[in-house]
Amino acid sequence: MSDFAGMEDLLQDFLIEAGDLLSGVDNKLVDLERAPDDRNLLNEIFRGFHTIKGGAGFLNATELVTLCHLTENLFDNLRNGQLEITPEVMDVILEATGTVRDMFASLEQGTQPSPAEGELIGRLRQAIAGELAGGQSVADAGAEAPAAHAPAAASASPAGKAGPDWELLHGALVGVPALKEVREVKPPAAAVMPAAPVKAPEEVIKAATGRRASDKPGAAAPAGRREGEKQRDNSIRVDTTRLDQVLNLSGEIGLTKNRLNALRSDILSGRNDTETLHSLDLAVSQLDLLVSDLQNAVMKTRMQPIGRLFQKYPRIARDLARNMGKDVELVLAGEETEIDKTMIEDLADPIIHLIRNAVDHGVEDSAERTANGKPEKSIVRLEARQEGDHIVILVADDGRGMNAERLRAKAVEKGLITDEESNAMDERQSFNLVFLPGFSMAVQVSDVSGRGVGMDVVRTNIQKLNGNIEIQSVLGKGTTFVISLPLTLAILPVLLVRLGDQPFAVPLSMVREILPIEAREVQEVGGRATMVVRGEVLPILPLAGLLGWPLDRSPGYGVLMQTAEMSFILAIDSFAGREDAVIKSLDDFRPKGVAGVTTLSNGQIVLILDMKELLGSAGDQRWMSRLSLMAKKPVLAA
């Protein structure tokens, strides 16, 4: 079935580690374009390909080995100063890197990668020989380079260049059979440099960028990649010191458990003097502390620096900018910020889309920038930081900013909102229009964005992670997308609200404030019950109505909640405070509108509400009217 029977573990390890390595290489390539003579960079990239080659050999991934070997040779010549980087050489390198990544994807599916395109191999060989269009070989290296890097030729005449010492040394070191082995490993390198026709630069660019068509957020591609990532989901790299901490804490808990056992025997045998009870108290509080430490420590094993994700993006931004003839630098910050591993994977696509969006729509082209007195090169900033119990991720550009009025006009034109709605919108709400399905600002549909799919998917994905996304934009200065996410998916801060005696939990991230609902403040606007809070007219949605319960009494309190689409007041009877809910999912049985359950400290089971789903199921809005909300008094009286 798989080409790697018996090697699955090895393959998994290799893919994770080599994948990181390749992302690092990608990043360094972007840096290299800015500093083509940086020996350190060249060395590191060389080593990256070299290491991948070494590992691939053990997986018998011959095609990957061949490709890495050639690329490595090219970098060897570059770092030795025999060759210089030209845009053509850079393109070949980037294409080779892309192909290596494609090969990883194939390995991930458990199949040996197919050979790299002959055309690419040909261009790589040309580049190594310094014969690629525009590729200037330094001094007479053009003649020397291929010779120095065709080891088969060298080992075929062992006595040739190195003098008599060589055979002796070699014999002493590897023994005669090994010489044969060395020969066997190397023959492909002896192949003659094929004289593939030199391509026009435009074609080169097309080839280099076209290859990554599969990276683009089309409909099918991410789905395929998603599956691949799901496979990878199962393993995680954890710093051993963190594991040691978990081990240490569980040991401590074991000790405390023993202590409690001893105390129990004492108490059961009738000892209940102050000293025993005091020890019990101590042991229990110690256990308390240890358990919460353990929870933290276990959670930390799931935390990974977000830099691992960020690494991929400078390269993507570069390719995209180049494709569109813009000069954009992606600046990363806060790579060390740690975030739950599952979230890192689910963030990959939304962030790609935001970056594409920034490069495509956000920043202007050089001409427009110069005309506006801005520096020609635009900066897109990708930044992560922890704020309290949240992770905040920013994608900020210094481009033209968003025009609220034009956004509204566009939305009306597309029939997404009515004129009336449009007039009632403030700036923030107007920006949020871009998240509506079917909204696309691009006048001309470009290759990378502008299909109107994406932004709504971005928001949906972020919301799936219990996060939210907001837009800040200043016309002429730039746009910032702010993603805010909980630290982990396992623990959800909630607000406990009550309907009668029944408690429900709502995500605290959506709660803005709690206010009493006075019957005289409720007004009916357009057939809906609303309340004015600081000048804003907000609809009142009774929780009982959302749940399909009878509306037989007036609610006592309202919780002002904010989702990406709307702000509203959730009408409830009373509330019981906040809690950090440990979410237990309902695997087989999931009633609509219920995200999961949690247990309170007193053992009571509480349903955690999925507000988005509840609002979606609200369809029939009969219960929203003031009359039904206030059913008790006026209707009965009438």
């Binding site: 090895l10 390890d13 290799f14 580690e17 080599a18 390595l21 590191e44 060389f46 080593r47 070299h50 290491t51 080659k53 070494g54 590992g55 050999g57 053990f58 018998n60 080891p151 060298a154 080992s155 062992p158 260049k161 190195a162 010492d165 060589w166 040394l169 070699h170 002493a172 070191l173 590897v174 023994g175 090994a178 082995e181 060395v182 490993v185 190397k186």
Partner: protein
Amino acid sequence: MSDPKMKFLVVDDFSTMRRIVRNLLKELGFTNVDEAEDGAVALQKLNSAPFDFVVTDWNMPNMDGLTLLQTIRQTPHLKHLPVLMVTAEAKKENIIAAAQAGASGYIVKPFTAATMSEKLEKIFEKMGKKAAA
């Protein structure tokens, strides 16, 4: 000489590779294996605990395998340690450089347990001779 209790130090910056080498050594019956991710860390380990055998990669950040080898050969209490170079490079000049620096053996990736066993046997043989002489 091939005492299964021999303590190996496997030096490579690629943890997958360390694991491969470790598994191969295990197949050959050597289970006492420690790891280091580059030459600098390896030297630290070598200086703080006794080891009987070093298997090192060539290309590593911080300190590469060749420098590690040279340093080992120049350190009085380490210079007798057998050092097996493991690398993807089969270039003549690399092999010569390794030989000149005093490598006990040189093995080209990828290799099997059998190849590794053969190299180790050769080294043990040589060491046995030296010890006898």
